[in-house]
């Protein structure tokens, strides 16, 4: 079920929230967690029921491993390694088998496997570090499947979810939380159905017809995708935040205005924050700290950076394009570190522009079906294909008039006033609206929600981009 479906908003959500507060008001607190757990499983199965046994198997196995690890017996470390290997094996089989052979590339990627696998690995690591409290199977099951964050995160830590779940304060009616939740849900829904889905039209046309793109079309397509991805995923994350607040649960922010960043480091401090946090906690520090302590050469200090970013790229998918995407970001971060060491500074507008252009270029590898297409797109963006910059602009101004008898110079150009207006609006929203800010006025939230509902009735429903990862 999609957050941006009318079934979810008008049937599933009122039923689940209503049931939750009915149980709370009747004092049936023991049934609250099972109710949310069942609702979350239904939510997952509604999309594709055949993956339900897999997630159930994964939850059960991790739960057992978690219990074995927390006993702190002789084999605690072995259990931890076995659990991590189990999770990674599932992920590798379903996600990366296409890398190894053609025969198994038919394996269908189970929904949300990257998210729930990482969440469970971190849980096992926390068990090993004795950072977890006693928990029941149902509690643990809800930690993994809690429907607001199940499909595309944020990736939660056990210690930030479980205490909230078990405290009595959570099981009370808090109108301010509910209102904040409504506002955040409305904001996220607006970003998804009104902004991201409109940008998708330009991005899709562009990336499906890379060979025919001229300079301006290539830029419009790539920028459309950069904003589409941001508004799609940030919108999802804000909806998740809002939905969690309906149940008095606060989950971490996943985005903090990444497109305002003036350096690549700032960008990653605001983009998919729970994923970068995961890699930082469970991979970067374990790799980097020994190197830092060993006083080895600076070159070695950058190795963990590169490993982490290549793996972040690979986490998104099994293609070479993701590998290049990760490599590019890793290299950029290393260069940024060196730049900082030299204490060099750039004017703010220039540093913002450079960062945005780099990020936009790297997204081309993220979106393109293969490396050749990505390079073709970048060539077109550099003016190496199709009509030159002057011709492209002339054609664009011609199309503003929408002359009914006009014949486009090459194929169907989408560089029109309307596409430009949509992109400029997206840029303004990205730069001026604060991500995840729940202090939206009730009026603004309600109008955004009404607008989004309207858009939903007249457009095709589209899944979130991060469902593919």
């Amino acid at each position: 079920m999609l957050f941006n479906s009318l079934e979810f908003i008008f049937l599933f959500l009122p039923l689940v929230v209503g049931g939750y507060y009915l149980l709370v008001s009747r004092g049936l607190h023991r049934l609250v967690t099972p109710w949310l757990f069942l609702a979350s499983l239904f939510f997952y199965a509604y999309w594709e029921i055949r993956f339900l046994p897999l997630i159930a198997f994964s939850i059960t196995t991790n739960y057992v491993f978690g219990r074995l690890i927390t006993r702190q017996g002789r084999y605690s470390q072995a259990f931890f390694i076995s659990g991590a290997v189990f999770n990674l094996a599932l992920l590798v089989y379903y996600k990366y088998s296409s890398f190894s052979s053609v025969a198994v590339s038919q394996v269908v990627l189970p929904l949300a496997i990257s998210f729930y696998t990482f969440q469970q690995i971190s849980f096992l690591a926390d068990c090993r570090r004795l950072k977890t409290a006693p928990y029941s199977f149902i509690d643990y099951g809800l930690f993994v499947t809690f429907f607001p964050q199940l499909i595309a995160g944020p990736i939660l830590h056990h210690h930030e979810f479980m205490p909230q779940l078990l405290t009595k304060e959570t099981r009370k009616w808090h109108p301010p939380h509910f209102v904040k939740g409504l506002n955040l849900f409305a904001l996220g829904l607006f970003k998804k159905v009104v902004i991201a889905d409109q940008l998708a039209a330009f991005a899709n046309i562009g990336f499906q017809n890379i060979e025919q793109l001229g300079w301006l079309d290539a830029w419009l397509a790539s920028i459309s995708y950069s904003f589409q991805l941001y508004f799609d995923f940030c919108g999802y994350s804000e909806m998740a935040l809002g939905l969690s607040l309906f149940f008095n649960v606060q989950i971490p922010l996943n985005f903090k205005n990444p497109y305002r960043a003036r350096t690549i480091q700032e960008f990653w401090a605001g983009w998919h924050m729970t994923l970068t946090r995961w890699f930082q906690d469970y991979l970067y520090y374990p790799l980097a700290l020994p190197l830092l302590r060993s006083k080895s050469s600076r070159f070695f200090h950058y190795i963990p950076h590169m490993i982490v970013f290549i793996l972040i790229g690979m986490w998104h998918g099994s293609g070479w394009t993701f590998l290049v995407f990760g490599g590019l970001h890793g290299t950029a971060l290393v260069l940024h570190q060196e730049w900082r060491r030299q204490r060099l500074r750039l004017p703010p507008l220039l540093s913002w522009s450079l960062t945005f252009i780099f990020v936009n270029g790297a997204w081309v590898f993220f979106r393109a079906p293969d490396l050749t297409s990505a390079l073709n797109m970048l060539t077109a963006m550099l003016g190496g294909k199709g009509p030159g910059v002057g011709d492209a602009l002339a054609s664009f101004f011609d199309r503003i008039n929408f002359d009914p008898l006009m014949v486009p110079a090459s194929g169907e150009s989408f560089a029109t006033l309307s596409s430009l207006v949509v992109i400029i609006c997206a840029l303004v929203v990205a730069l001026t609206w604060d991500d995840g800010k729940p202090s939206l006025s009730i009026f603004r939230g309600a109008i955004l929600f009404g607008l989004s509902l309207f858009a939903m009735t007249i457009t095709q429903q589209s899944p979130f981009l991060y469902f593919n990862f």
């Binding site: 008898l405 009026f443 309207f454 009735t457």
Partner: protein, 343 residues
């Protein structure tokens, strides 16, 4: 709690105001003489034609194969309710939208093939479709019900960009040689969509036309006519039940149903046992058997649509058949014309 009520009321007000605004926009746009390919838009167009006696209902083939201006000039006041991307499963709610029309006849143009296989659940469902299919097939199609269909406007609205797209698009290269013809067509161009290989023109009166040479340029073996003879096959009972139920809906509106079995494809003709269909529908329903027409490949624009010149002759043929249902030989000249290569 007050804030939650305020939020709900405000968002519903915004939603309703936008729905109303869009609805008004659509009415104004149709009043200005332009429309988009949706049930809501064509219904609005039809409501502006109180003189219509015959509604032509069907898919893209209906939209692109009839010149209703010409039919009206021949004394058969007609409206083209063909809609691209539709299947006959979507017809119940469309027929329901004819209630306010004063037309006396509804002609359903269908491929003969549909009577050989069970009917699927409709792709574009309204609440009316769901109840219609519930009466016919129980809960089978209820599962696919989308809550969206409870909203006032039909859910068949295309992508938002389509709604607000300028009605006058550009003419692709396929249309350059027809530029003068199109400019002189009394039906007036509504908009053009497509690409350099195939252009679909819609006219302001609800008709359409496909301009393409894709069949003429396709390898001869791919356009070789295949005759599929299913005359000894029984017709699918579910399909028959469905078409008779559609007939009942039309009759309930005080209109008469006509079935037009249309030519199938440039490379395929299906023959069915028409007598079984006639028996199921009863003597009050006229069945036109155009599914076995011989039409050379040069007269097809693409595999499923005739070129405008062939569509004009086809219109003349159907008009003749409607005017002289008991004397089919009088329409022989149109059959012969359609069997020859048209300019």
């Amino acid at each position: 709690m007050r804030k939650i009520i305020l939020f709900t009321a405000l968002s519903l007000f915004t939603f309703a105001a936008l729905q109303l605004g869009l609805s008004r926009y659509l009415q104004r746009r149709v009043a200005d003489g332009t429309w988009i390919e949706s049930v809501a838009s064509k219904s609005e167009l039809l409501s502006q034609r109180p003189d219509v006696r015959l509604i032509l209902l069907g898919t893209s083939t209906t939209q692109n194969h009839f010149n209703t201006n010409w039919m009206t000039n021949q004394g058969l006041s007609s409206f083209n309710f063909g809609l691209p991307g539709r299947y006959w499963e979507d017809f119940p709610s469309i027929i329901d939208s004819f209630r306010t029309s004063r037309a006396s006849h509804v002609m359903l143009s269908l491929s003969a093939r549909v009577f050989l296989y069970p009917v699927s659940c409709p792709a574009f469902r309204t609440l009316y479709d769901v109840t219609f299919f519930y009466r016919l097939r129980g809960l089978e199609c209820w599962r696919k019900f989308n809550i969206k269909h409870l909203f006032p406007l039909y859910s068949d609205w295309p992508f938002i960009g389509e709604v607000f797209r300028p009605t006058k698009d550009y003419f692709a290269t396929t249309l350059l040689r027809y530029k003068t013809d199109l400019a002189n067509d009394p039906r007036l161009v509504n908009y053009v969509r497509g690409n350099n290989d195939r252009s679909v023109v819609t006219y302001r009166n609800g008709d359409g036309a496909v301009f393409s040479d894709s069949v003429a340029q396709a390898p001869a073996e791919s356009v070789q006519l295949r005759l599929i003879d299913k005359r000894k096959w029984p017709l699918d009972p579910e399909a028959l039940r469905f078409v008779t139920a559609l007939g009942r809906e039309v009759e309930a509106q005080g209109k008469k149903l006509i079935i037009n079995l249309e030519p199938r494809r440039a490379n395929e003709t299906i023959l069915i046992n028409v007598e079984l269909l006639k028996n199921a529908l009863g003597p009050s329903v006229l069945v036109l058997t155009n599914h076995a027409l011989t039409i050379p490949r040069e007269n097809w624009a693409d595999f499923t649509h005739l070129k405008p010149a062939a569509a004009q002759v086809y219109t003349e043929l159907v008009t003749c058949q409607l005017k002289h249902p008991d004397t089919p030989p009088s329409c022989q000249t149109f059959l012969e014309k359609l069997a020859s290569v048209l300019p």
